[in-house]
C-alpha cells in the first residue's frame, strides 16, 4: 500500500546553541528508529558528535559533516538516497532543505522530500505567503507588513501604529526580533534584523495577550489531531522559549480551548503539513479574540516538551506519517493496544522553566523578552500547580530551594516585575509577601491571576511553616507543605531545622511520595508504561518495587553552559550497558530535551528531581543495587558524599575519593604527596593571606572557592583590587570555607586525558591536545585527538601521572585529568572522577565505547581484554566549540576561564587540516573569499602572527587592518588597507566595511590574555558577531586556521562517513 523509500537521508541540527538545543537529538533519534523499523536504510549528517543519534546502532551511515548546502549535496551525490527528511533537525535542517530544493539539487539527484512538502514549509516561513494562506481560510493573524528595506519598515510601522514587533524571517528562535516603541528604536533594530535575514516583518504588538500553543499531527489522508496544548504563564511579549509554560492550559474554558484547537486543525489541513507542527496563538485576556502568531512546520523545542509532557512520541509518529502511514494505522506506544490517532488526556500537569546562564556574561542584560537567551530547560510533573512549580524551580539547579526559602531580595520589586529578568517569578513572590495586591502584580506582569493565586498559596504555606520554627511540624501541616511542593531542605530552612530532621520526621509521619505513571489516557485503559513521576498529591503507587535487581543512573538535569548533551550520551550508554549485563536500569532525569528521558531507553524512567531527597526516596523504594552518579556531570556528582553518608551504595569510585579530587585542598595535597607537579597553590582563609600569595607568584591567579559553596564559580583575577572585590563582595573566604589560590598559567599547552579505570588500574585512555594555549576553558577549546603536535615525552608523563592518580584514588569508572605542558614539564590542573564532556568524542573517534567499559567496571562485571595498539589511528578527530554570542547582546566574544560555548561539533579527517576545517565550518564558520580584517593587540602577538599574515597575503586575500596592526605589518613589508575604528567615525571605517559585508573574516584579539569587554578590539569582535562575520580571537587558533586554508580548499575536504575511517 505504501511505497516505502529504500534509503533516506536525515539532516541533524549540528551543534547545540541558544534557540536550537538537545531537543533535536531526541527528534532525530526517534526518526531514525521509526525508519529502521521499516527496514529503510538511513544516512545521517550531523557534526554533533556528542549526540545519541550519531551513535552506533542507530543510523546505517553517519557523516560528521556540516549541515549546509555544500556538504549535503556532496553526501547526496555520494550516497544517492531516494528521499530526505527535513523536519527533524530544527531550523538548520529546514533551511538547508529549502535551499537544496530551490537550487534544484534535490531534483537533480531525484531525492524526494518525505513529510511536509517544501512549498508548505515556505508558506509557513515566508510571512507574506503565510498571511495570504491564512486569510484564505479566515484565520486571523496579527497585522503584519513585510519589508525588504529600512524605509519600507518605517512606513509599515506608521501604518500599524507603535509599538510594533519586529521579526526577521527564517531566523532561529526569534533572532533579530524585538519590540520598537518608536521610530528611533525601530531604525536600530531593523538594521540588525537585516543582517540576519533579507526580510523583516513589522507587526501589530500583542503584549499582554495570553500565549497558547498547540502541537498538531496530521497524516497525508487529512486525519488531524492536537496532541497537547500549552499555556505560557508569562503572557505575550516574552518568547515562548523564555517563558514559564504549563501544559495543559490552565485558564482556558472549553470554548476557548476547542476554538483554538479547531483553528489549529483548520490551519494545518489547509497548509498541508504531513507529520508534526506547532502553532502559536495570542488569545485576548478578556474575550475570545485571537491571532495566530506562527506555525513551525517541523519538530520544535515545544514538540519535544509536548512529547515528554504527554508521553506521545511525536517525532516517532511524525516519521511514520512521513512514510505515508495513516494515523489510525499506528499504535499508541504507551498502551500498545489503543490507536495513535487520539489526543492524550493528562491527569497531572507539567511546568517548563527555561534555564539561563546570563550571569556568565558580564555585559549581557539579564532582561528577557522576545529573543531567546536561555540555554536549556527543565520540566516538572505534579498534580498541583504549587507542587509542580516548586519542583521546577529547584530543578534549575540555581541554588533555589523552591519559590520561597531563598536568600533573594529585589530592591525594586515593581521594576523587577515590569521589566522581566530570569528571576521575575521570585520577584512576584516577594511582591505578594510585601502585601502588594494581586491586581497590581497582574497589571505589572500580565500574569493571569489564577497563577498568582497559586503562588500566593505557596507563600501562605511558608507563613504557616514559620510558626513551627525549631519545633516538630504537625502531620497535617507537613502533608500540606509536601503537597505544595516544599522540599525537606526548604521546610528545614524555613523552620530552622536540618534537612535530615525534617526528613526523619516526615517519614515517621508516614508521608512519602506516591509514584504515578504517565499513561496518555488518564488511567482509562491499562498501560504497562515505565514513565513515572512522584507526587504527594496521591495515595497509591501505580507500580511495584524491588522485584528485580536494578541500578539507578542519575542524569544531568538542565542543559546549560558546561553541561549538555554529552552527559546525556553518557547516561544513555550507561543505561544500555547496565541493561545488557542483566540489570533493570532506572533513569532519573528531568530535562525534556534529552534522549535519556525517552521511556523506551531504560526499564524505568523517573521524570523527577535529581536531589538528595528524591534520590533517597526512590532508592529506598526501589531497593536498587546501587546508584551511578558519574555519568551526568557535576549535578549528580555533587550528591556523592550526601548519599554516601546515608549509606547509599554509590557504584564505582568511592565518594571519599571523589571528595579528595573535588576538594581542592585535599587534591593539591595528594598531588604533592605523589610528587606530581601542579601550578603553585595555597589555601587561604583570609583576604590578606590570599593577597600575599598572589603577589609572591605574580598575577593572574586562579581562585577556587570551596566546592561546598555551590554556585560560587572559580575566577581569575589580575590585580589586588579585583582580588579584594571578588573575595569580599561574595564573602567567599572564611576560616570555615577557605579558598585555594593558584598561579594562572597562560603560556602552556593544555592536554586532557579521558580514561576508564578498574580498582585503580587504567583500562583505556585517550589523550587529546588543545589547539589554544591554557587560559581558555577546556569546554571552549578546540581539541585534537589523537594529539598531533605533542612530544612523546610529554605523552609518557601524562600517562604515568594518570596511572599514579588512578591508583592513589582507587578509581573504578570514568575519569578525566587536565594538564599543562611546557617544555616537557607536565603539571596537573584539574581532575574529575566522573565522565567528562569529551567522553562521547573520544569514544566515537576511537570507536571504543568508554562508557560501556566504565559501567561494566562499576558493576563489577567481567571486562574485555583490550588491545591498546588499536588506539593507533590513521585519521584525526577535531572537536570545536559552538558559541551563541549572537544571542547574547553585548557579550564579548572572547573565551576565558569561564566557559561560554553552548555546544560543540567534531569532524574526522585524514589529517589535522581536513578535520579542523570541517569542524570549524560546522560551527557556521564560512571560509573567507575576499577581505580579512586584522586587529591584533600588542606587537608580541602581531609578531607571532607575522609569518601567517604573510601567508594570507600570498594566498591573495585582500587584507585590512586597524592603526597599530596596519603600521606593524607595513613595517614588515605587508600591504594592508587601513580601516578606522568604529568610534573614530572616519571613513574608510571598520563598521561600514562590516555592514556592507566587504569583510568576510575578522582576526581580532586583545594584547593581554584577560578579556577587557571594552575598548577597540571588543567593539570589533562584537560587531563581527552582530553582522555574522566569522571571527578568530586566539593566536594558536588563527595560526592553525591559516595553515589549514593554505593547505586545503573546500574541494580538498573529504566526504567520508564515520564507517570509512578505520
Amino acid at each position: 500500500m505504501i511505497e516505502k523509500p529504500k534509503k533516506a537521508l536525515i539532516l541533524g541540527s549540528g551543534a547545540l546553541r541558544i534557540g536550537q538545543a538537545g531537543e533535536f537529538d531526541y527528534s532525530g533519534s526517534q526518526a531514525i528508529k521509526a525508519l529502521k523499523e521499516e527496514g529503510i536504510k538511513t544516512v545521517l549528517i550531523n557534526p554533533n558528535i556528542a549526540t545519541i543519534q550519531t551513535s552506533k546502532g542507530l543510523a546505517d551511515k553517519i557523516y560528521f559533516l556540516p549541515v549546509n548546502e555544500y556538504f549535503v549535496e556532496k553526501v547526496i551525490a555520494k550516497e544517492k538516497p531516494d528521499s530526505i527528511l527535513l523536519s527533524f533537525g530544527g531550523q538548520t535542517a529546514l533551511n538547508c532543505g529549502v535551499a537544496l530544493e530551490k537550487s534544484g539539487v534535490l531534483k537533480k539527484y531525484k531525492v524526494k522530500v518525505l513529510g511536509t512538502p517544501v512549498t508548505t514549509i515556505e508558506n509557513t516561513e515566508d510571512r507574506y505567503l503565510f498571511v495570504k494562506e491564512l486569510n484564505k481560510i479566515e484565520v486571523k493573524v496579527p497585522k503584519s507588513i513585510a519589508a525588504v528595506s529600512k524605509e519600507a519598515a518605517l512606513d509599515a510601522a506608521e501604518n500599524i501604529g507603535y509599538p510594533v514587533m519586529i521579526r526577521a524571517a527564517y531566523a532561529l528562535g526569534g533572532r533579530g526580533s524585538g519590540i520598537a516603541k518608536n521610530k528611533q528604536d525601530l531604525a536600530i533594530m531593523v538594521n540588525e534584523a537585516f543582517s540576519h535575514s533579507p526580510q523583516v516583518l513589522v507587526e501589530e504588538w500583542l503584549g499582554g495577550w495570553k500565549e497558547i500553543e498547540y502541537e498538531v499531527v496530521r497524516d497525508a489522508y487529512d486525519n488531524c489531531i492536537t496532541v497537547c496544548n500549552m499555556e505560557n504563564v508569562d503572557p505575550l511579549g516574552i518568547h515562548t522559549g523564555e517563558s514559564i509554560v504549563v501544559a495543559p492550559s490552565q485558564t482556558l474554558t472549553d470554548s476557548e480551548y476547542h476554538k483554538l484547537r479547531e483553528l489549529s486543525i483548520r490551519t494545518i489541513r489547509h497548509l498541508g503539513i504531513v507529520g508534526e507542527c506547532n502553532i502559536q496563538y495570542a488569545l485576548h485576556p478578556y474575550s475570545e479574540d485571537y491571532r495566530v502568531i506562527e506555525v513551525n512546520a517541523r519538530l520544535s523545542r515545544s514538540s519535544a516538551l509536548a512529547s515528554k509532557a504527554t508521553g506521545y512520541p511525536l517525532a516517532f509518529i511524525a516519521a511514520k506519517l512521513a512514510l505515508g502511514y495513516a494515523l489510525p494505522e499506528l499504535k499508541n506506544s504507551i498502551t500498545k493496544k489503543t490507536t495513535a490517532c487520539f489526543e492524550p488526556a493528562l491527569d497531572y500537569l507539567v511546568i517548563k522553566i527555561p534555564r539561563w546562564d546570563l550571569h556568565k556574561f558580564k555585559q549581557v542584560s539579564k532582561k528577557i523578552g522576545s529573543e531567546m537567551k536561555s540555554v536549556g530547560e527543565v520540566m516538572a510533573i505534579g498534580r498541583k500547580f504549587e507542587e509542580t512549580l516548586q519542583k521546577a524551580l529547584r530543578m534549575l539547579q540555581l541554588s533555589m530551594r523552591g519559590l520561597v526559602g531563598n536568600n533573594l531580595t529585589f530592591p525594586d520589586v515593581e521594576d523587577s516585575i515590569k521589566n522581566p529578568t530570569d528571576q521575575r517569578i521570585f520577584a512576584v513572590a516577594q511582591a505578594i509577601k510585601e502585601g502588594i495586591s494581586l491586581e497590581k502584580i497582574n497589571e505589572w506582569s500580565g500574569i493571569d491571576k489564577w497563577f498568582l493565586y497559586k503562588i500566593r498559596n505557596i507563600i501562605g504555606m511558608e507563613n504557616t511553616l514559620l510558626q513551627y520554627a525549631k519545633t516538630e511540624i504537625p502531620i497535617e501541616i507537613m502533608r500540606q507543605a509536601k503537597q505544595f511542593g516544599f522540599s525537606d531542605e526548604q521546610i528545614g530552612f524555613i523552620t530552622s531545622q536540618p534537612e535530615m530532621t525534617v526528613r526523619k520526621l516526615r517519614k515517621k509521619q508516614g508521608i512519602i511520595p506516591a509514584v504515578k505513571q504517565i499513561d496518555t489516557l488518564g488511567a482509562e485503559y491499562p498501560a504497562k508504561t515505565n514513565y513515572l513521576y512522584t507526587t504527594y498529591n496521591g495515595t497509591e503507587d501505580d507500580v511495584e518495587f524491588g522485584t528485580k535487581k536494578s541500578v539507578m543512573v542519575l542524569g544531568s538535569g538542565a542543559y546549560r553552559i558546561g553541561s549538555s548533551v554529552e552527559f546525556d550520551w553518557c547516561c544513555v550508554n550507561a543505561v544500555i550497558a547496565a541493561k545488557r549485563v542483566g540489570y533493570q536500569a532506572i533513569m532519573l532525569n528531568y530535562n525534556p530535551e534529552t534522549v535519556s528521558t525517552d521511556y523506551d531507553i531504560c526499564d524505568r524512567l523517573y521524570f523527577d528531581e535529581i536531589s538528595f531527597e528524591l534520590v533517597m526516596d526512590i532508592y529506598e523504594r526501589e531497593q536498587t543495587t546501587g546508584v551511578i552518579i558519574s555519568m551526568g556531570g557535576q549535578t549528580p556528582n555533587n550528591l556523592a558524599m550526601p548519599l554516601y553518608k546515608e549509606g547509599v551504595t554509590i557504584l564505582g569510585t568511592s565518594p571519599l575519593s571523589i571528595d579528595s579530587a573535588e576538594d581542592r585542598n585535599k587534591f593539591s595535597k595528594l598531588l604533592d604527596s605523589l610528587g606530581i607537579e601542579q601550578p603553585l597553590w595555597k589555601e587561604s582563609t583570609s583576604f590578606d593571606e590570599a593577597r600575599k600569595f598572589a603577589e609572591k607568584v605574580g598575577y593572574p591567579v586562579l581562585i577556587r572557592p570551596s566546592y561546598v559553596l555551590s554556585g560560587a564559580a572559580m575566577n581569575v583575577v589580575f590585580d589586588n583590587e579585583s582580588l579584594e572585590r571578588y573575595l569580599k563582595i561574595a564573602s567567599l573566604v572564611t576560616p570555615e570555607y577557605p579558598v585555594v589560590i593558584s598561579k594562572f598559567e597562560t603560556n602552556s599547552k593544555e592536554i586532557e586525558i579521558d580514561a576508564v579505570a578498574n580498582k585503580g588500574n587504567v583500562l583505556m585512555y585517550a589523550i587529546s591536545e588543545h589547539v589554544e594555549n591554557a587560559g581558555v576553558h577546556s569546554g571552549d577549546a578546540t581539541m585534537i585527538l589523537p594529539p598531533q603536535r605533542l612530544y612523546l615525552e610529554t605523552i609518557r608523563q601524562v600517562k604515568k601521572i594518570s596511572r599514579q592518580i588512578a591508583s592513589a584514588l582507587k578509581i573504578t569508572g570514568p575519569f578525566n585529568i587536565q594538564f599543562l605542558a611546557k617544555d616537557n614539564q607536565v603539571k596537573v590542573i584539574e581532575c574529575n572522577l566522573r565522565a567528562s564532556r569529551s567522553f562521547p568524542f573520544v569514544s566515537k573517534v576511537f570507536k571504543r565505547n568508554f562508557i560501556d567499559l566504565a559501567t561494566r567496571a562499576m558493576l563489577n562485571e567481567k571486562l574485555p581484554k583490550l588491545d591498546k595498539s588499536s588506539l593507533d589511528l590513521d585519521y584525526v578527530g577535531v572537536k570545536a566549540p559552538q558559541f551563541s554570542f549572537s544571542r547574547l547582546k553585548g557579550a564579548d566574544p572572547m573565551p576565558g576561564v569561564e566557559m561560554a560555548s553552548t555546544g560543540e561539533v567534531a569532524c574526522l579527517g585524514s589529517d589535522l587540516y581536513d578535520a579542523f576545517l570541517k569542524a570549524l565550518i560546522s560551527t557556521d564558520f564560512v571560509l573567507p573569499q575576499k577581505g580579512i580584517l586584522l586587529s591584533i593587540g600588542g606587537d608580541k602577538n602581531r609578531f607571532k602572527l607575522l609569518e601567517d599574515v604573510q601567508r594570507l597575503e600570498k594566498l591573495g586575500f585582500t587584507l585590512f587592518a586597524t592603526d597599530n596592526t596596519y603600521q606593524f605589518y607595513a613595517q614588515h613589508g605587508i600591504k594592508t588597507t587601513l580601516l578606522y575604528k568604529a568610534q573614530e567615525e572616519i571613513e574608510p571605517n571598520v563598521l561600514t566595511y562590516m555592514q556592507k559585508k566587504k569583510l568576510d573574516l575578522v582576526i581580532c584579539m586583545p594584547e593581554e590574555y584577560f578579556p577587557v569587554e571594552s575598548g577597540d578590539t571588543y567593539i570589533i569582535r562584537r560587531y563581527s558577531v552582530d553582522y555574522s562575520i566569522p571571527l578568530l580571537n586566539n593566536i594558536q587558533l588563527t595560526k592553525l586556521f591559516i595553515e589549514a586554508i593554505a593547505a586545503k580548499g573546500m574541494d580538498d575536504l573529504e566526504i567520508k562517513s564515520w564507517e570509512e575511517y578505520h
Binding site: T251, T253, P328, A345, Y348, G522, A523, G538, D542
Partner: protein, 359 residues
C-alpha cells in the same frame, strides 16, 4: 488556608476514599463514573446524561476558570447544557476557589452549593479511576453527616426525570425544514446547532406521540441511563422508520434507533466519558476525535438486514454509529455537538439536514 470539612466516598465494594468537602455538605448515592476530559466542567455537569451519577474527574485541577453567568439566549441558558446540574456528586483532586476568567460570574464551589451538589476534594482520583476501570463502574455514596443506602440510578426512569414535560417550538418562523427533537435529556447545544442552521425545532417530551405531526426530520437526543427504559420512544421511532422520514440520533439516540430497528444494546464495563475517543468512519476510513459520555452501547452484531455500522471506536472497536444502507436513517454514539470537547464532527448536522432537505 480555609477550614477543611471531612467527607468521604464509599464504594459498593466497601472501599473508602476520604477527602474534604467543597460543595453542599450532604450525603448522596449514585453510580460512580469517571471522565478524563481536561476542560468543560460547566457543560459536563449540566449534561442530563449524567443524571444519577457521581462524577470523578481525572484531571486534577478543576474550577480554574470559574462558572459563567445564567444569561439566556434563544430561550435557554447560553453557557450551559441544561437548566441545572445533573450530576449527583463530584469527586476531584483539587478545586479552585478563586479564578480570574472574564466570563466567570461565580466560583465552582459557590455554584455547587447553590445547586446543593456535594463535592469532595483531596482524593487520589487516579487511584479511584483505576479501581473503576478494573471493577467496572460501581455504585457508591458520598457520606457527609448521615449515611444513605446505595442506589442504582439505572433502575429509575432517568429519561423521564430529565425530559421536558410539554412540547415547545424554537425558531417558529424558520425558512428551513422542521425537525422534531425527542428530548430524552437533550443538550442545549444540539438545539443551538439546529437553530443556527435555520431549522424549526419542535422539542417534545420523551414519551410524546409526535408521529401524527407534520415534520421533515426526526432527531433522537442524548440522555441518561438504560435505553431499554425508553419503550415509548422506541415505539414512536419505529413508526417513523416506516414513513421514511430522515432520522438522526446522538448517544442515547443511537441506542434507541438501534433498538427500534431490531438490534440490541448492552452495558459497558466502565463506559466512555472523555473528549479524546477516536472514531473511524467506516465509509471513508477517516478517524475523528470525539467527545463521549455513555455507559451503554449498541451491539452492532445484532443489526438487522439493511443496516450497517457507520462509525467504530478505534480503541476498543465498540459501535460508534449506525446507518441504514439505503434509507436516510443514521445515528452516532459520540457527540457532534460537543460542549464540552472537540468540534470535529459538527458537520454531521449538515449531513443530516441535507437528507432532510432532499425530501
Amino acid at each position: 488556608m480555609n477550614s477543611r470539612q471531612p467527607i468521604k466516598l464509599v464504594l459498593s465494594d466497601g472501599t473508602v476514599f476520604e477527602g474534604h468537602s467543597f460543595g453542599a455538605y450532604r450525603s448522596v448515592a449514585g453510580e460512580v463514573v469517571f471522565n478524563t476530559g481536561m476542560v468543560g466542567y460547566p457543560q459536563a455537569f449540566t449534561d442530563p446524561s449524567y443524571r444519577g451519577q457521581i462524577l470523578v474527574l481525572t484531571y486534577p485541577l478543576i474550577g480554574n476558570y470559574g462558572v459563567p453567568s445564567d444569561e439566556e439566549e434563544l430561550g435557554f441558558k447560553k453557557h450551559f447544557e441544561s437548566n441545572a446540574i445533573h450530576i449527583s456528586g463530584l469527586i476531584v483532586s483539587e478545586y479552585s476557589d478563586l479564578n480570574d476568567h472574564w466570563a466567570s460570574k461565580r466560583t465552582l464551589p459557590q455554584w455547587l452549593q447553590e445547586q446543593s451538589i456535594p463535592a469532595i476534594y483531596d482524593i487520589d482520583t487516579r487511584a479511584l479511576t483505576k479501581k473503576l476501570r478494573e471493577h467496572g463502574v460501581m455504585l457508591g455514596k458520598i457520606i457527609a453527616d448521615v449515611d444513605v443506602p446505595l442506589e442504582d440510578p439505572n433502575q429509575r426512569n432517568l429519561v423521564a426525570e430529565v425530559s421536558i414535560k410539554n412540547p415547545c417550538v424554537y425558531n417558529p418562523d424558520a425558512a428551513g425544514p422542521t425537525v422534531v427533537v425527542i428530548d430524552t435529556g437533550c443538550k442545549y447545544n444540539i438545539l443551538r446547532n439546529f437553530i443556527k442552521r435555520d431549522v424549526k425545532v419542535m422539542r417534545v417530551p420523551w414519551d410524546y406521540d409526535f408521529t401524527t405531526l407534520e415534520f421533515d426530520g426526526l432527531f433522537i437526543a442524548n440522555g441518561p441511563g438504560d435505553p431499554k427504559m425508553c419503550t415509548k420512544t422506541i415505539e414512536h421511532v419505529r413508526t417513523v422508520l416506516e414513513k421514511n422520514i430522515p432520522i438522526f440520533g446522538i448517544c442515547l439516540g443511537n441506542q434507541i434507533l438501534a433498538l427500534a430497528c431490531g438490534a440490541d444494546t448492552y452495558k459497558l464495563k466502565y463506559g466512555h466519558r472523555s473528549q479524546n475517543q477516536p472514531c473511524i468512519n467506516l465509509e471513508t476510513g477517516r478517524c475523528y476525535i470525539t467527545p463521549q459520555n455513555h455507559g451503554f452501547a449498541v451491539n452492532a452484531k445484532k443489526l438487522p438486514e439493511g443496516w450497517k455500522e457507520w462509525f467504530v471506536n478505534a480503541n476498543d472497536s465498540t459501535n460508534e454509529g449506525i446507518m441504514h444502507e439505503t434509507k436516510p436513517f443514521m445515528s452516532v454514539q459520540f457527540h457532534p455537538e460537543a460542549k464540552c470537547g472537540p468540534v470535529d464532527c459538527e458537520f454531521l448536522f449538515d449531513v443530516f439536514l441535507e437528507q432532510v432537505k432532499k425530501r
